[in-house]
Symmetry: C2
Subunit: 210 residues, 2 copies
C-alpha cells in the first residue's frame, strides 16, 4: 500500500467495494477495459469522481485507454485486504447469525469464517454454514488457539457489551457489530464497523415522505 | 416540512436516525435538555457539525439553553416520516427475512409490517414475527387490497429483478433491497434503499489492513 492511502477518506473507502463489484460483473461478461466515462454511467457517479477516487490509490488508468478491469480489481482487492484471510467468528446463531453465516461470502472479502457461538442449549450443536455451533464456554480457548481476529456480533443489545469486552481480551482486533448496542467505548482497542439497519430503513422512510 | 429540507444532503439525512437514537437514550434516562457540545462528545461529532445539521431543518436549539430533547426528537421523527405508518411486506422468509421481520421494530420507524411472502412450500404457512407466511401467488391481491407501499427484498439475486418489477406494477413505492441485485433501473419508478452488507464488511477489512 502506498503512502497516499493514509489520507484516503472513509467515503472513498466505502465506494471501493462497489467499484470491485461492478468491475467483477464486467469481468464476468468478458470485458477487459473500461473508460471512466463508461464506468460512471454504469455506477451513477461522475467520471471525474471516479478518476479522483482511483487516483487516491495511485491511479490505475491510462489516458485514452481507460482502466484495465482485471488489474484494477486486483489492486482494489489488495487495498481492501481481500487477499489476507482473517480468522472470523460469529457470536449468536439465531436467524440473523444464520443469515450472515450463509449469505455473506466471507472468503471472497478476506475473512475465513471458522466458528459460530451461541448461549442457547437448543442451538449449540446445530449447523450453520457447515460449522457446528459451539457453546460460549469454548470461546476463549477457540479464539486463542485459532488466532481469531474478527468477530461478528449478532446477539441482543443487553449482552453485547460484555461479550465485546471478553472478545477484546481474547485478542480480537475487529468487530462487525449488528447488535443495537453502542460499543464505541472500545474504539481505541479494536476496529469497529457498526451496522445500523434501522438507519437505512429510516432513510427510505424519509425519501418516501419527501 | 419546511422548504429548507429540499436541499438537505443525503449525509445529513443519514445522520438523523442516529440523532434520534441518541436523543431517545437520553430521554429514557430522564434528561430533558442537552447542549450541542454535550451531544457532540456523546456522538463523536463536532458541536458545530451538530448545529449545522440541525439548522438544515430550521434549528431547534436556543442559544445558551441547548436542545429540548423531547421536542427535537419529535421534530426528527416527523422529518423521517416515523408518524406516518406505511404498509410494508417482506419478500422471502428465509433466515434473513425472519431476522428482519423479528428484529427491526418497523412500527417505531413508521412502517407497518403486514405481510410476508415466500415461494417455498416448506415455509408457506409458517409464522414469522406473528404473521403467517403467504404464497407469492397471493402477492398481487394482497398489495392492492392492503395498499402496500413498501417491500423488503430478502430473496436471492436471480429472482429479485422480476419480483421488483411485479411489485412496482402492484403499486409499491419504496423498496428496501437486501438482495445482491442491482435494481437501479427502477430508480425513477420507486424509492430504493440498497443494503450492501458486503461493503460494510469490506470497510472493516480495510481498516484492519491499514
Amino acid at each position: 500500500m502506498n503512502n497516499k492511502t493514509q489520507s484516503v477518506s472513509d467515503l472513498v473507502i466505502r465506494r471501493l467495494p462497489r467499484y470491485y463489484r461492478f468491475l467483477g460483473e464486467l469481468a464476468e461478461k468478458g470485458i477487459s477495459k473500461i473508460s471512466s466515462r463508461e464506468l460512471s454511467s454504469l455506477m451513477g457517479l461522475t467520471a471525474s469522481q471516479i478518476r479522483q477516487d482511483l487516483n487516491c490509490f495511485g491511479g490505475f488508468g491510462q489516458q485514452g485507454y481507460g482502466y484495465n478491469i482485471i488489474l484494477l480489481q486486483e489492486e482494489i482487492s489488495k487495498i481492501l485486504g481481500y487477499n489476507n484471510l482473517k480468522n472470523t467468528i460469529i457470536i449468536g446463531a439465531g436467524n440473523l447469525g444464520h443469515a450472515i453465516a450463509e449469505g455473506m461470502h466471507f472468503e471472497k472479502r478476506g475473512f475465513n469464517l471458522c466458528g459460530i457461538f451461541d448461549v442457547s442449549k437448543n442451538i449449540i450443536g446445530t449447523k450453520a454454514a457447515g460449522l457446528t455451533v459451539s457453546p460460549m464456554s469454548d470461546l476463549e480457548s477457540f479464539c486463542k488457539k485459532k488466532k481469531v481476529s474478527v468477530a461478528v456480533i449478532c446477539i441482543p443489545k443487553d449482552s453485547a457489551k460484555s461479550v465485546c469486552k471478553d472478545l477484546i481480551s481474547f485478542g480480537i482486533e475487529g468487530i462487525w457489530n449488528f447488535s443495537h448496542c453502542d460499543i464505541s467505548e472500545f474504539k481505541d482497542l479494536v476496529k469497529i464497523e457498526n451496522v445500523h439497519l434501522g438507519d437505512s430503513l429510516a432513510a427510505l422512510g424519509y425519501s418516501l415522505s419527501e
